[in-house]
Subunit: 288 residues, 6 copies
């Protein structure tokens, strides 16, 4: 009985393994996932999935932010934030903390977790090779930047050498000044610049819903135009908007599909990649 | 529940997929398997497994005989055999039938079955590029040959070009005369000459047993030296001897492992290759 | 005196040797040539020419049928043919015989003859890698097929690996069913698919004639449009039509020249390839 | 007059440029150099030299520590150090600060400075690809590690892709735990692992002296054995010992020469590399 | 003081070294330069510059004539010239002398001078591989030819193999007859055919002047259209016209810049190539 | 009848064509051959053979001297030679003539003759890339040199680029001074340095004889040790000694065979290379 199921899983999985071999898959891993008590196990499972993807020839790129960890460190240093137009202002002192925490705390933690399965992970920040080139959004917000251009050479070089890049989402402007940027947006832009096969957002929800109050209305597969309607009719709202916008942008920019998965499910990346059923919500262009 | 099992199968399988990518696996497929009524389904499942192996980068080589089909054709042509020392004599007329049936009937049937899944199979006989060079065993037996040398260039060239060679076990001597040879022995010799990772014999038994009358005594894993003891104590006997001898010879010649599997189990090749438990009996060298 | 002639032959031959190095030449070898008493010598001379062509870097491809041998085997098996619209019907039983004889008898005989001069020949049938993909001509004729598409990958791969492919003209449809096809037509289609330099038909006539009754009217060189006129005026008729049509089709499809040679002349292939005078009839496009 | 000098400089420099093209040069850049007021200019000049070296085909690798910056951050966070055997204990909290400051503050500052001249610098820490694998020195000192092994693959890959790696000297043990390590020692070990042509220490002294009190006794060129004598006789002592030991170790490990230069001299790297006179102190093996 | 100047020279030179690495630079070296007493030193300095250019990856091609040396040999052989339309007639006897002197005297002298710095120079004449294909200018002038076509294959092959070609400007027509040609024109045509970065004429003047009588009116940089005006207004005249015309032609044909330098200045090639100030007169297209 | 002979020539020649493809054959062409009245035809036939050899993939290298042409020019210039120990002294003036005639007259004549069949010939002298490095034999003889070392890089590079090098046998010492050398010896040394398949001397005799007075005693094939006996017994003497010594030296140095052919026979090179009978005298090592 179990042998039959095992054989079915394999028969289903092998063609996907071939299809995705050599393809780039960008995975956005949230800072939240690292912050809680039980998260170390979640990080370990995530790290194992990334290494298994790498094992069968997929080229994974991990992109991360680190909001909770930044807040902790600001608190420790007694730095209080001011706000402008409802958004937190990133002054020089805050920016230094953001950069230290993302590059010097969160990034090495993810890299080390992956490397316990085989020394393939390499941390990169948007400063390296000026990978994420930004301009300031507006003066009032301080060092908050919007991406002008992704230079994919460092990441591409690491992928070609067989490494798994782990990208800390710090931007840099033409003068070498560092900037705070939105990690979801950065992940989408990186996927587009790399010509990725997939961009996958690991979240703490099961996926998108057609009816926000009905768990049974999970959207398994949708298109860019349907998504835009869901936004305009208010079905999708709030914190999901930047993620969903990044999905739309990435798919329009040539990424084959975008995914919103529940990072709390063990091995959800493998389930999405290697089964017919997949996991969470898959977003493709209108024609495909 | 099912998702957990699926994830487990994948986590287990992916490292094997990596390990075997680019490796050559020789599969001996018996003429019996093609002869019965329900065999067309068995052939279809076998063909699917071969293509799936190929899909994930394994280099499969199929080797076949065709005893039952030869007997049928000899009967149709009213050719009766004589015997010498208890073995059937292969005279010129019989040899012509053997060659016609193996190269012109069994081989194309297997090739066509595989090609319904994607035109990768190419039939080869031992005559092509003098792949299987033989000498006559003795005059009394007529055109019965023993392999002197396997020239792997044709098979290797086809593998390098991405094809699945399907080898008909006809031998040829220095003068270009065709010979009848033992297919099990040929399969082992080919595996050795190719530096194969595995030689797999698909049979109609579950595997080798430690006690021939006790189904529960199936040997999952054994070594060359244990096998020799089982032969010397008579546990292994009769028709299994040539197969087991070929396994021993191949492993001694550098093939990493030899396998005796039950070809009646659906997708038994995938189960053997991609699960920790494997299937049937696995034979390795004494040290590993 | 002889030295002067030898030098002249060499001075004439060397530029042709250079011109044809690396070029593909398809040679249609008839089943008739194998059927007679003295043919073993003819086969040996033919095999020597093929190996000498290969020696100086030409890429020969041999294509064969086997009508007489098929008839012999049908007779032995007491299979009588029915006819439809004046053409022999190929039922399943007949088809099996056709395939057995071409793949299992004629093909290995040619391969072995070539390999006595150096193990370079490899038998291929239209089934391998679905090289010759066909559709049924019409229901009444049974398994008689017309070529839809030549997939040249197997033959090309063997050529690139330094082998001489010997093609048995069995076709296969999308479902893997084998079909009987015209060998002359197949040879032309293969030459076209390979982008061959030449297609050469070895026959038992000296070449085409302008006046069918006048041996002195041999056509040494002609063009596609002149040939069409000769057909429309009835000068060329009967059994020569399929061969000549295949020549026209191949030249139109990009083959530089088609040749009808007398296979009974010793080393006629070398004389055609490496002398200014050539041999038999040469057909080119209208402009060249 | 000036034209003559210019020509002399070029005639002298061009052969060095050829000799060092394609060679790896490791430059240890001290944290002190970044700490002072006027250092931004020093950093800018240093960054220009690194880019000019890169321009003519040298493969520079920058290695840095960051003692003063770590002390500042520990002070801001009110973390006080305990001591064991006269050495500062690195507890988990301290280690986190060390890592944040080196990876998240000092490293990006150097990377950004170089990138203002052309986006070639890429920050790497010893954690990435487990580049610097360490074991704890002893329990009492906490997370203070000694290098077991340098895995040069990440740095080598970046060099091969045309980037300038900037290495933050954090070590990591087999379990993924980060460690504090001596930056001078790390620089030497990296040079050895890369088979570097040169290891250059930028310091705030003019070079080594034969008589510590006599500025005119500057050693322009010395050997490993002479250096050992200078240590044993106490001429070299104190804070210079780890640097000098790293030089000796690197030269013994195959690095062609080690250099101690005065980082306060503008373009001292170019003067050392491309003039006959060189700069500071050069240390070679005894035979060369 | 000197260190500061040295550093300035290096900072200025390194980017040029990178820019010109791998680029072809054609240098026209005059026969006059070899004829005088003190010329051996000039030749030695010139040879050193060529080798230094080669050292840093530039691909220099030297083109030479040899008027004075030809006149000497004609005198020794008592051959007197006749004239037609004011130009010297090159009869068969004179042509033989021209060829002997250029290929057998001047060319080996330059090759040997370069090879004392490292065996990289290889003499080539326009006859080799029919590099300079010409047609006769008119019957009256005898063997005076104009270039129809430069076949760059021999020179390109030598450059690709790391050699420095030294081209003797003998032309050859379709029948293999040798011709006397203008060396300045040949140098320009070769630069154009090679897609050279620069064509440099070494002369015995400081450069072009805006006012022929005013040494201070040296033109450091000019364009093709300004030059044409200077010719049409008579500022440039006489013997400079062929050189200047060759410059114009070469720049129009794709050479980035043409230069007229004073070959009497030591290391003038290095000063031109590797300093911002350059030397002599530089001619570029109108847009750049 | 003629067709049969033609086929025989081809059957015999094709395996040689294959065997020699890609192999280097050095041909020593004498200055005498160019000096006489009817020589232009001889040169044309020789040039055709060289191009035909090149056509079928052989890599010919032509080596020449030019004694008669040098004597003519010395006479024209009224330069009389002095003698020391019975040998002509090469003073500076004579050396200049030798170099001018070989590089500037004989070499271009051969190059142009070959190039009328397809621009493949490139003249090279021993000065180029210091191909033939020599030292003076003794002071009394002036600029007469013996070869120390052949640097094959220029010739090898030209062969790899598909050219036919034509080598003028001028030597050069470490200081760049040109020297007169024996052309037969130079040809043998070049063959050895190139690892040539054959060294062929074109002479005006039919080959070596066992009895100098008996034309029927021509030696078709001999070995190094037999040759040494023939020299020691005085059968071979006089002007043939340097040629025969060069043959012995070359064969000992790894050249497969040396040949002494009668250059007056039309296409003698083709007869030697591509027939079983060969031409002239063939010298091999003792074992082969």
């Amino acid at each position: 009985m179990s042998e039959v199921h095992t054989a079915q899983v394999l028969v289903e999985a092998l063609p996907y393994i071939r299809r995705f071999a050599g393809r780039t898959v960008v995975v956005k891993y949230g800072g939240n996932a690292l912050a809680g008590t039980s998260d170390h196990d979640a990080l370990a499972l995530f790290a194992e999935d990334i290494v298994l993807m790498h094992t069968v020839g997929i080229r994974p790129v991990v992109v991360h932010g680190g909001g909770p960890q930044i807040n902790d460190m600001l608190a420790k240093l007694n730095i209080t934030s001011t706000f402008s137009q409802g958004l937190r202002v990133t002054d020089a002192e805050t920016m230094q903390v953001v950069q230290m925490v993302l590059n010097g705390q969160v990034n090495p933690q993810i890299v080390s977790a992956i490397n316990t399965h085989g020394n393939v992970a390499v941390g990169v920040s948007g400063i390296d090779g000026r990978t994420l080139q930004v301009t300031a959004r507006n003066k009032a917000l301080g060092f908050v930047g919007d991406i002008d251009k992704v230079r994919p050479h460092v990441i591409q070089g690491l992928l070609d050498d067989g490494f798994v890049p782990v990208l800390s989402t710090i931007g840099v402007d033409k003068d070498g000044q560092s900037f705070n940027i939105n990690a979801d947006t950065a992940a989408g832009a990186v996927a587009e610049a790399l010509g990725a096969e997939k961009i996958i957002y690991l979240t703490d929800i099961a996926g998108l819903r057609r009816d926000i109050d009905d768990a049974s209305s999970l959207i398994q597969r949708t298109t860019v135009s349907e998504l835009q309607e869901l936004i305009s009719t208010g079905v999708i709202s709030g914190g999901m908007i930047p993620k969903v916008d990044s999905c739309i942008q990435a798919v329009r920019g040539g990424v084959k599909s975008a995914h919103i998965l529940d990072g709390r499910i063990a091995h959800v990346l493998l389930l999405e990649l290697f089964t017919d059923h997949g996991a969470g919500t898959m977003i493709t262009g209108d024609v495909s």
